[in-house]
Amino acid sequence: MGNTDRALRWLFRAGYGTVFLLLVAPVVVVTATSLSATTAVTFPPTDLSFRWYTTLFTQRVWMQAVQNSLLTAGGTAVFSTGLGVAGALGARHLSDRSQIAVSGLVLVPLLVPGVVLGVSLLIFFSRFGLQQRLSTIVLAHALWATPLTFSVMRATFSRFDWQLQEAAMDLGASRLRAFREVVVPNTVSGLVAAAAIAFVVSLQEFIMALFLSGRETRTIPVESWFALRGSLSPLVSVASTLLVGAVVLTLIIAATAIGLERVADDT
């Protein structure tokens, strides 16, 4: 092997090694700084303690943010999964051209920058005096979550053997009962995955939430954003660590329900 080849190989290793370290560094930094024993946010921290975790739970604004985030993410998960399931069931019975039109319409919001969507929705909802409400944040997040739940459910239903439902109906079950007792149990893993993905999208999103929230309706990312722009304390690290933890936990649930490979494939 030539010297240039060897040098190239080491350069390549150093390159992807650096990228790997930079990719995982944020999680390491927030977790480490959340355990700070002092008021300073320093990485690496000198002494470790859980004092900021206990502090966070006594702070009204942060508890409010945790509650807002859970309500928004839960609402988005339920709402977008409902839309996705119904849409995916309906799309099976449409002509190819209508299917493409529906998928296109559902997908487009995912391609529009959050700033533009946020401004557009803020102006629109203000018209009806609906600004600064959690429900409007849920609608905004559903714009990004629904394309994902829709495609996960379409993939799920395309794998389901619909003759099973026909068989149940031949045996005397009504359409609704056949759906509830035959279709649902066989597609529940896709349902869980879709809901989890929607939950995660909402939990992480903050640009639209920033535009649409008020003092009382800030989510964790929005509250962190304001904290970052103000005086820094390890509380932001604690909130960030909890956020990452919640996301990982949700996806573990999804992954066990559906198998990790399919989460990646379907979305």
């Binding site: 959050g114 700033v115 939990l203 990312p221 970052l228």
Partner: protein, 296 residues
């Protein structure tokens, strides 16, 4: 009335109207996306005013004239295009290298490298930017590390600068970009590389001439993700950049919330949306062109 209701129930029972189940999702996207977007277009065509956000019911192209004749706004738009182009170029380079590394790696290393991408995707943007502020600060570990090697005497301005804005934005786009390239690369047969090398090509030449052409569809998708997200960038330049890195996203937010000039904010928003759609249309053209090319 009751006859039609019964008829409708029958048809539902027989499953003839099942296609109607798409109605909620279509209605949702119409009411929460298409209509608000139309309203944004309408507001961009109202008269600007000092008293209030816009003049109700008026028609004017004043807002577009204002946006296109105000140097700070034009500058921010041009800066955003440059910023997005720069981020896209860097993102493609980094992501190609990393996706190639995942592809070549085996066993535990491959899982670890893929895991790194996944971890980054699962870290919220705000969290990543917060970490960037810590890591790349003048007294952060990265600057201290480089200082210790003696290559530089003064810490580099890696945050609160253009470099910071770019680093922050890369943190947002690179994980998605890597996956886009890797998903295409993973279907390429690794023995192609060995074949090229058996035929006497050097390592670099084999990669450049044999592997990269196969990844073009992935590179295009990665490019469009990086570019469109950077055109709409807001958080990274605001948190990791300085006041000189004013992207269109920041300008829109200022127009809306500080100047209370909704007509101009709407016009600027449409400018960004149009840029994104033009980029997408060009990409779609490229993709169908290269898609046709690699089939043969």
């Amino acid at each position: 009335m009751s006859v039609t209701a019964a008829g409708l129930r029958d048809r539902l029972q027989n499953g003839e109207l099942r296609g109607l189940l798409v109605a909620p999702i279509v209605l949702f996207d119409l009411l929460v996306f298409v209509v608000p977007f139309g309203y944004l277009l309408r507001i961009s065509l109202t008269e600007r005013t000092q008293r209030g956000a816009f003049v109700e019911g008026s028609w004017s192209i004043e807002a577009f004239q204002y946006v296109l004749s105000t140097p700070t706004l034009i500058d921010s738009f041009l800066f955003t295009l440059w910023f997005a182009a720069g981020v896209t170029a860097l993102s493609l380079g980094i992501s190609l290298l990393y996706a190639y590394a995942i592809w070549r790696a085996a066993g535990g290393l491959r899982v670890a490298l893929l895991g790194g991408v996944l971890v980054s995707m699962l870290t919220a943007i705000v969290v990543k930017l917060f970490a960037v502020q810590q890591l790349f600060a003048p007294n952060g570990v990265i600057n201290q590390g480089i200082l210790a090697t003696g290559v530089i005497q003064e810490p580099l301005a890696l945050i609160n600068s253009a470099a910071g804005a770019v680093i922050g934005q890369l943190y947002i786009v690179v994980p998605y970009s890597v996956l886009a390239i890797y998903s295409v690369l993973s279907s390429v047969d690794e023995s192609l590389l060995d074949a090229a090398r058996d035929l006497g090509a050097g390592r670099l030449r084999a990669v450049v001439e044999v592997i990269i052409p196969h990844t073009i569809p992935g590179l295009i998708v990665a490019g469009v993700i990086s570019f469109t997200w950077s055109v709409g960038s807001f958080a990274a330049p605001l948190l990791a950049g300085s006041s000189a890195e004013r992207t269109t996203g920041i300008a829109i937010s200022d127009l809306l919330q500080q100047n209370f000039d909704w007509a101009a904010a709407a016009a600027m928003g449409l400018l960004v949306a149009t840029t994104v759609f033009v980029a997408l249309a060009v990409t779609y053209g490229l993709l169908s062109y290269t898609g046709g090319g690699t089939d043969g």
